[in-house]
Assembly symmetry: D2
Homo-oligomer: 121 residues x 4
């Protein structure tokens, strides 16, 4: 199982099966899943609280921390996929749509090298 050969559909199915086997869909209301997602995102963030952005690149390269960071990121994506399962959303479709909208908001010629919000470009 790797990114070159695994579809988002396969990952979603695996996450759904895990929840169904445990009869956890009753807990997986969108409200609860959104909280779990935010909580996992915060756990990822905790690895970088007091370092500079540049130094945070070294943190992800550190072998011991890298394993923990990979777990936090996995948790985030797992909950995002389960949210998609429960809400009946196609992840690839909504990403494609969002990236087209982003491309209109952030045209290359205006946005290149700038971190400003599109309303300030």
């Amino acid at each position: 199982m790797n990114d070159a050969s695994t579809t988002t559909g396969e990952l979603k199915a695996r996450v759904l099966a895990f929840a169904q086997e445990r009869d956890w869909e009753q807990f997986h209301a969108p409200k609860n899943l959104s909280m779990a997602l935010a909580a996992e995102a915060a756990e990822l963030m905790e690895h970088f609280l007091w370092v500079t952005p540049e130094a945070s690149r070294d943190v992800t390269a550190d072998p011991a921390k890298r394993a923990k960071i990979a777990e936090e990121l996995a948790d985030i994506v797992i909950y995002a996929l389960e949210f998609a399962n429960i809400a009946g959303l196609d992840v690839a479709t909504i990403i494609a749509a969002k990236m087209e909208a982003n491309a209109r908001k952030y045209p290359v010629e205006k946005a290149r090298g700038r971190a400003d919000k599109y309303t300030e470009l």
Copy 2:
């Protein structure tokens, strides 16, 4: 582009190309991406602040709100994929590993129908 036919590798490549075209990799330090992820997760959560978990299922079914919710979820997954790009992580691999660990922590016979943390099962 849909979940049945799109690999996580294809989505990652698309997200990376978007950032590279805009010379945004300089801003995409792990620290900054983890903040953006947490901020997007919070925006998703805002749709469900004051409703019960059960009522939150209706919120995701409401057509007007559904479109906004899909965008927030897309933003979360986009930032998660870009984090994986920058940190050099294979999303399918780390999800598979995390789900195997979760299966050991939450064996079906113990965890069925229970929302308790594995330390309390």
Copy 3:
């Protein structure tokens, strides 16, 4: 030290002294403090992920959990006060201003018993 007799100024001074004694002001940039605040808010939220709002009232009443929850809430307020210290903000003043703005956005006659956003009242 209790809420009846302690000013926000006294709490702010205590938090600032703690940071200064440890030469921690160098780490307490607004960006970093905002991340720490969000991370602590997520830790508080983790106590309530899978329960209903009504059941969450019992969680805060449970003696063992209550102590942990009190610590998470303390962490949030400590970081909020330190953010105010670093940014030079008067907490009582900005709360008074925000509550006046909220009172205009949510007049009693319109907002009574409703959780809708002011734009939807």
Copy 4:
């Protein structure tokens, strides 16, 4: 109303009265308030996503942004105080207790000038 003369008890009473006048206590379950707190913390964080920690000090000094940042911080403290109201917690007491615990975990001689977690000092 300012930090030199306002007690946390006075602020809590003001926040509680606002909720009671609108019959909002029914929505203010700990679960919901913890989500609102995390959502507001994320809004504060959004002002600093792509800047360095050092540059974030300038953001809080910028007059236009300063007003917005003050509002986000006010929202955080308001929800923290309302959480304390609903859970029956004395904010000054729990802060004092947490800071004593922190002082034991981070003794000045060990922690001075270091951002490491106490487990790594």
